[in-house]
């Protein structure tokens, strides 16, 4: 799926559903108190369990009209050193989705969490960890004029989903979001510059563990 819609637009694609099988809640579509209870009692614990057991930094799930996103601090170390290897950074990683990289879900690439989590489970604990710098870029969600967030500067730490700026489309700002955790690298487009859809705007250098084999 080289051209799967999504890219860097957080929250536009329906979130993937990595733990709905675990939560076994089926197709309940109520959105009242029952739904909240369901989310609190079943989805959140299932999500925590899944996240603890995996090497992912973040999981997101939609259930009964609610969207739950859970993050863990990767630098604190996770039980088990398994992890899906991140491929090349930048555009490829952000748009190809499915299991290519751990550590970000964000709603950008539908299905990446489920594929990533099963991959992580499969690699098992105890494998030797290795650090690698992963380069990615926040991409333009639309055609328009780019404005970076106030004070955005090289060296700042960002988390997946953080808003790094906007692209103005006929007066309507659309958010540019960080595709993963990391540090702001170079700005690839100047303030006020005309940008196209999918254009790389802000370089994000992330540290991630990768594993051999």
């Amino acid at each position: 799926m080289p051209d799967e819609p999504g890219g860097a637009i957080a929250g536009t694609a329906p979130a993937s559903d990595p733990v709905s099988t675990a939560s076994a809640s089926g197709s309940s579509s109520s959105s009242g108190a029952g739904a909240i209870a369901l989310v609190a009692e079943r989805v959140v614990p299932a999500l925590i369990a899944k996240l603890s057991a995996s090497d992912l930094g973040e999981l997101e799930v939609s259930e009964s009209g609610w969207r739950v996103r859970l993050r863990k601090d990767l630098s604190a170390g996770a039980p088990g050193d398994g992890g899906a290897r991140s491929g090349s950074g930048g555009r490829g990683a952000a748009t190809h989705g499915a299991g290519a990289h751990a550590g970000h879900v964000g709603g950008a690439a539908t299905g990446s969490a489920s594929a990533g989590s099963s991959g992580a489970a499969g690699t098992g604990a105890g494998a030797a960890g290795r650090s690698a710098v992963v380069r990615r870029a926040a991409e333009s969600p639309a055609v328009g004029y780019f404005t970076p967030r106030d004070g955005l500067a090289t060296g700042q730490a960002v988390r997946s989903g953080d808003v790094l700026g906007t692209v103005n489309v006929l007066g309507v700002p659309q958010q540019v979001v960080a595709p993963g955790d990391g540090v702001v690298g170079r700005l690839l487009a100047a303030a006020g510059e005309a940008v196209e859809y999918g254009q790389e705007l802000v370089r994000i250098d992330g540290i991630e563990r990768a594993v051999d084999g």
Partner: protein, 454 residues
Amino acid sequence: MFGRVLIANRGEIAVRILRACRTLGITSVVAYSEADRDTLAVQLADEAICVGPAESARSYLSASSILSAAIVTGCEAIHPGYGFLSEDDSFAEMTRAHGLTFIGPPPEVLERFASKAGTRELLARHGLPTIPGSEGMLRDDDHALAEAERIGYPVLIKPSAGGGGRGMRMVRSPRELQQAITICRSEARAAFGDDSLYLEKWLEENRHVEVQVIVDRYGAGVHVGERDCSVQRRHQKIVEEAPSPAIDEATRSALAVSAVRAVVAAGYENLGTLEFLVDTQGRYYFIEINCRIQVEHPITEMLSGIDLVVEQIRIAAGQPLGYTQADIQLRGHAIEFRINAEDVRNDFRPQAGVVERYLPPGGPGVRMDSHLYSGYEVPPYYDSLLGKLVVWGPDRQVAIARGRVALEELVLEGLTTNVEFHRALLGNEAFLEGAFTTNLIDRVGSAAFLAAAG
């Protein structure tokens, strides 16, 4: 004239518009979706800008993305091609509100001709015959019987609301009418909550004939003859030709002259196509107008020598027509074969994949409008049109002979196409006699149609 134009379309028509822009010395910017990064128009363009993902709703159909792309690239006008935003009056209005020009009819003209029923009434007032039908809605059985008698059987019972064939029945006698009308009323009530019905004349063996018109901002208009698009499958045109072999000279002239007179009087502007149904007696009935460039426009260009896309751009830029009907000479006969990526032996299922080898045919009177090249990957997201093979000859026989040669010569490997269908058509007696009707393929069935031609 414009200095820069945004081409907001894809495939062969994007290449066609690009060529017209070049002819006029206009810089062109091609708007493309992520799935079309490798397409020919992007490669040939002066500039190209990605407007969104493969999904057309977020790229080619996204008015704000297209308009924003035109603005950020400094374009003065947008050419929408056909399909997508080409007849969207609110997009045209939005374009104008941002100080750009929509290449097509102005928004208020698009709006005036947006409703099919409204357009039929409007053009009927300006002298175009429309399909005979009942005066208003049917009050009761007696009224229905009287109206059917007046129109002449067979008639089609149609519900006022909705569509999709529900509440619709064709009847051949008063007896059938009385039986069907009760069923139609209850179907229409159940489906649309409205059981009002009306009658329309049913044309059994009809031909689809359309007239090309060009009208400038100052009320000068010409027609560029007609095109016959009777070779259809499930209402999709497959082969078009001009002139129509189904009508005599007197009808041809009356049809074209009345069409252009009516649209000029109704305040139309820019390029337009008026579609008619022609019955076996050569009577014609207006059905609808297309306010854009048509897929099949090249056959008219082959006959007239007029570049219709250039005319469209010139008129949108406010230039006067600059010639009259007497200056338009139509010569010879042209046929267009739509080359589609579809499997004719498998219910015409659309195909996607890599074009491994592509070699267009050539020779006198042969034109291939296509965005293909060897190695191009046809994406699965859009329509299956790969190109249009157009042949011209001094008469129909020569055009058909050149068509046969060109279809043999065309090399298109790696994808299943409908070329086999076209070869079969050129062996079909009804087509060779010029007697093809719009229902022929569906009535015979495409498998039987292909088998009969060997």
